[in-house]
């Protein structure tokens, strides 16, 4: 077990190294120049030269990379070129919690809505209920999230005035306020996942319900809800968790658009503005955090298998 865990961590480090070199290189290769953006339209060539040197952008690629990497590892993430923010505070302390909150709320919505819908259509297979949820799921997968976001804003925010259309309130400080602000963005981001989970739950549950142990449970006279929710759903947990872990990338990708539409100051917005402004260091920090998150969650998924399936636990 320990050896396995160490191996995983080693893998993680290698992946993070590759990710960091790749983003660093790609950003340098992209056309556009932070110095020009920083100086706006009114500047002299001397100011340009001076700023390039000041920002250390005249040094060779490898020196710049090594410099950045040593600092990053020691927790010194640097200061952004233009806005002069401390990147660690900005990215890790401010932006990351917002994205994590948004992602957790969306995941919660997706599971709380997707699983029951899937169960419903599996149990009522080939009925109007099933067809209805299939249509919903298909629409959900096909609907672009930014458009859905704007529609939700106009309907629930502006026309009905039920929910705030933008802004972030930390659920750690004010849980209900946080939830209230997260409902529209959470729904927007989770539509795709609700649809996916519904379909996945339906397909796997139908299969599970045909297994002998379900028949056995029914034969023992257990009530219908217990058969489905305890014996059935428990057995679809593993494929569900696996898919959710793998789809986390899609979810993080979705936060970029959702955060922009709902004006949430998370990693998505941070990355967008940093890429447009060629804030190399900020992009780098954002990518590293995202990569870490992705790898971390998949590590957790791996570690959760023995909990979800007793057969995978170590035998003494």
């Amino acid at each position: 077990m320990l050896r396995q865990a160490l191996g995983k961590i080693g893998q993680t480090l290698v992946v993070l190294f590759i990710v960091s070199v790749a983003t660093f290189g790609l950003l340098k290769l992209a056309p556009g120049d932070p110095v020009q953006i920083m100086l706006g339209s009114e500047y002299s060539p001397e100011a340009y030269e001076q700023l390039t040197i000041e920002m250390g952008l005249d040094r060779p690629f490898l020196t710049q990379y090594l410099d950045w990497a040593t600092n990053f590892v020691t927790g010194d993430w640097g200061t952004s070129f233009v806005a002069r923010t401390d990147i660690f505070t900005y990215g890790f302390m401010e932006a990351l919690p917002v994205t994590l909150t948004l992602a957790s709320f969306s995941l919660a919505f997706a599971i709380l809505i997707g699983v029951p819908l899937g169960v419903l259509s599996a149990v009522k297979k080939d009925t109007a209920c099933d067809a209805g949820s299939a249509v919903l799921a298909l629409t959900g997968t096909a609907f672009p999230s930014f458009l859905l976001g704007i529609l939700l804003i106009w309907f629930f925010g502006v026309k009905l005035g039920w929910f705030p259309v933008m802004g972030y309130v930390s659920p750690w400080q004010d849980f209900w306020g946080g939830l209230y602000h997260m409902i529209l963005p959470g729904l927007t981001l989770s539509t795709y996942f609700i649809a996916m989970i519904t379909r996945l739950t339906r397909a796997t549950l139908i299969e599970v319900l045909e297994q002998p142990y379900i028949a056995a449970a029914r034969a023992r006279g257990e009530p219908g809800w217990r058969v489905i929710w305890v014996h059935g759903v428990r057995n679809i947990a593993m494929p569900l968790v696996t898919i959710l872990g793998l789809q986390l990338g899609t979810l993080l990708q979705g936060t970029v658009l959702t955060e922009t539409v709902f004006n949430l100051p998370g990693i998505g917005q941070m990355l967008t503005s940093a890429v447009l402004g060629r804030e190399y260091m900020v992009v780098q920090a954002g990518v590293m955090m995202t990569a870490f998150l992705f790898i971390g969650v998949n590590l957790l998924v791996d570690l959760s298998y023995p909990i979800l399936d007793p057969r995978l636990r170590d035998r003494r």
């Binding site: 002299s44 100011a47 233009v82 704007i150 005035g161 402004g277």
Partner: protein, 535 residues
């Protein structure tokens, strides 16, 4: 020019409020009122109430007035700081009036004397005196790191502190552009910052600005909000009226509009043209906006490729149907331009420009006759570089391409990313591009740095020494009528040789909910909130 004329002219440029006699003698009634208010700040204390939330959609780079290149930053900076001068607008005329100064006078045509208000304090409690003014001006002129606005004070030869409240600026030549250099444009050479704060924060001053303005800086959270709170010791009596101001930083204008309509925010510092119709129909908000000091144009590369041919450039310039452009690219909101000098430049803009025969306009016959004189008579294929940037994105390029086709110019539209666009424009790697120069309040700023031979912003690479000469002569004149003549001549050269096809002057919009009262609109893209209150 005699000294008396000179002073008269300066007086005319100064405020109606202070009046000519007041300016000349420094002792008018207006000044007594101002200085009384200044020496008894207790009287000036206002009851502040209300929390204004206003969306800011464009990028804000830094809150350091001496280093910013963005008007969106100036909108915030102006609420934290004051300048030696300020811009005012009475509905017809844009003027420059003393702000931190009580009087602005000329000793001779190269020496400006500013008498400062008494008792003005920075938010950190240090006094705003002549030394602070000197510190700020020199920080722009020769500080390290170099300010991108240093060129505006190039002619400043000495800053003399006469006494704690009097400062004399000596220039090496008469400098007509001074009011704009100090207080117009993107970035403010004449905005006064706290020397103690600059020493304390160094390069991070832009994240910790300390001025004398109606609001104090509280915090700036990236992609989230900039918070300000009232400065109860502000020197203008009865101001500010608000207790708190939040600039909500947003990337998506339509979300900002939705937030305004649902009452989550009280205004927008900028309302993009495509949303204006929607805002106008919304009963609970008021739209502010007029044609401001700017011009949009089609830029042609005079250094390489087919547009080195002057007749091809002229053909393109005269083939642009400005009315169609206004309708299709600018949502019917802009105004066709004939030359770069724009309507708010009082005294320089010719109200009868449309019938004067000066400048460029749409005339297909004329365009075709120029085309017939071009060296290349077959179809000319060029690259038109465009990006999703500026007030209307790629709409201009898409509207122009068929117009150019009518004179045998096939424009291949190439969509690139904004940062790449800036790089290629600055390196002259294009045939055609469109752009807008904004915030021009003086003709010099509107045309000279943009088109001076080998100038840093002359991306079209047009060279004309006669143009340079006219502008240089105009720079050292203080008589508006005389200056206007020279700038008109310079503009005529520019329009005739057509490195650019001039297109439009644009209105810049702001919107406030009807709860917001007392906003004073100034056609220089400013959002000064000291007079604003919430009902």
């Amino acid at each position: 020019m005699t000294q008396v004329d000179h002073k008269k002219l300066l007086a005319e440029r100064l405020s109606a409020r202070l009046g000519r006699r007041a300016v000349l003698k420094g002792l008018g009634a207006g000044i007594v009122a101002a200085s009384t208010a200044g020496s008894f700040p207790a009287i000036a204390r206002a009851q502040q109430s209300g929390h204004l939330k206003i969306a800011s959609i464009k990028v804000i780079d830094t809150l350091d007035p001496h280093f910013t290149g963005f008007l969106s930053a100036i909108q915030v900076i102006n609420n934290i700081h004051n300048g030696l001068l300020k811009i005012t607008y009475d509905g017809t005329e844009v003027k420059f009036e003393p702000d931190l100064a009580e009087t602005w006078d000329l000793e001779d045509d190269k020496t400006h004397v500013f008498k400062l208000r008494e008792g003005v304090m920075f938010h950190d409690g240090t006094p705003c005196d002549a030394e602070a003014v000197k510190f700020s001006l020199l920080r722009v002129k020769e500080g390290t790191p170099a300010s991108p606005h240093a060129w505006k004070l190039e002619l400043l030869s000495e800053v003399e502190v006469v006494d704690p409240l009097t400062v004399k600026l000596h220039f090496s030549e008469p400098y007509a552009f001074l009011p704009v250099a100090l207080n117009g444009s993107t970035g403010r050479a004449g905005t006064i910052v706290s020397p103690a704060a600059v020493q304390k924060y160094g390069a991070d001053y832009g994240r910790n600005p300390v001025g004398t303005g109606p609001f104090k800086f509280v915090s700036w959270r990236e992609n989230d909000a900039i918070e300000l709170e009232a400065n109860p010791d502000y020197f203008e009596p009865g101001m500010p009226k608000l207790e708190r101001v939040t600039f909500v930083l947003m990337n998506e204008a339509s979300t900002a509009l939705a937030a305004l309509m649902s009452g989550q925010i009280d205004g927008m510092t900028d309302c993009p043209m495509q949303l204006v119709d929607q805002v106008a129909k919304f009963p609970r908000a008021t739209l502010y906006g007029e044609i401001e000091g700017n011009y949009t144009f089609l830029g042609m590369n005079c250094k390489r490729g087919p547009f080195t041919d002057i007749n091809l450039r002229r053909a393109a310039a005269w083939a642009l149907d400005r009315d169609t452009l206004v309708k299709q690219a600018y949502f019917g909101r802009a105004q066709a331009a004939f030359t770069p000098i724009s309507p708010p430049m009082t005294g320089f803009f010719d109200p009868d420009i449309a019938t004067s025969g000066r400048g460029q306009w749409f005339d297909l016959e004329k365009a075709k006759s120029f085309r017939a004189q071009a060296a290349e008579q077959g179809e000319v294929e060029v690259t038109y570089m465009m990006a999703e940037r500026g007030p209307v994105g790629t709409r201009v390029a898409q509207t122009i391409a068929p117009m150019l086709a009518q004179v045998g110019i096939k424009a291949n539209l190439e969509l690139i990313e904004p940062a790449a666009w800036v790089k290629r424009r600055n390196e002259g790697d294009f045939d055609l591009y469109d752009f807008e120069w904004v915030a021009d309040l003086d003709p010099d700023e509107a045309i000279y740095p943009e088109f001076k031979s080998d100038g840093a912003w002359n991306f079209c690479g047009w060279v004309n020494t006669e143009f340079d000469d006219l502008c240089k002569r105009a720079q050292v004149l203080l008589d508006t009528a005389e200056r206007a003549k020279l700038y008109h001549a310079a503009e005529d050269l520019l329009m005739d040789e057509a490195p650019i096809g001039i297109m439009t002057h644009m209105p810049i919009y702001k919107v406030f909910s009807n709860k917001v009262q007392g906003f004073q609109y100034i056609p220089a893209d400013l959002v000064n909130l000291h007079t604003v209150s919430l009902a």
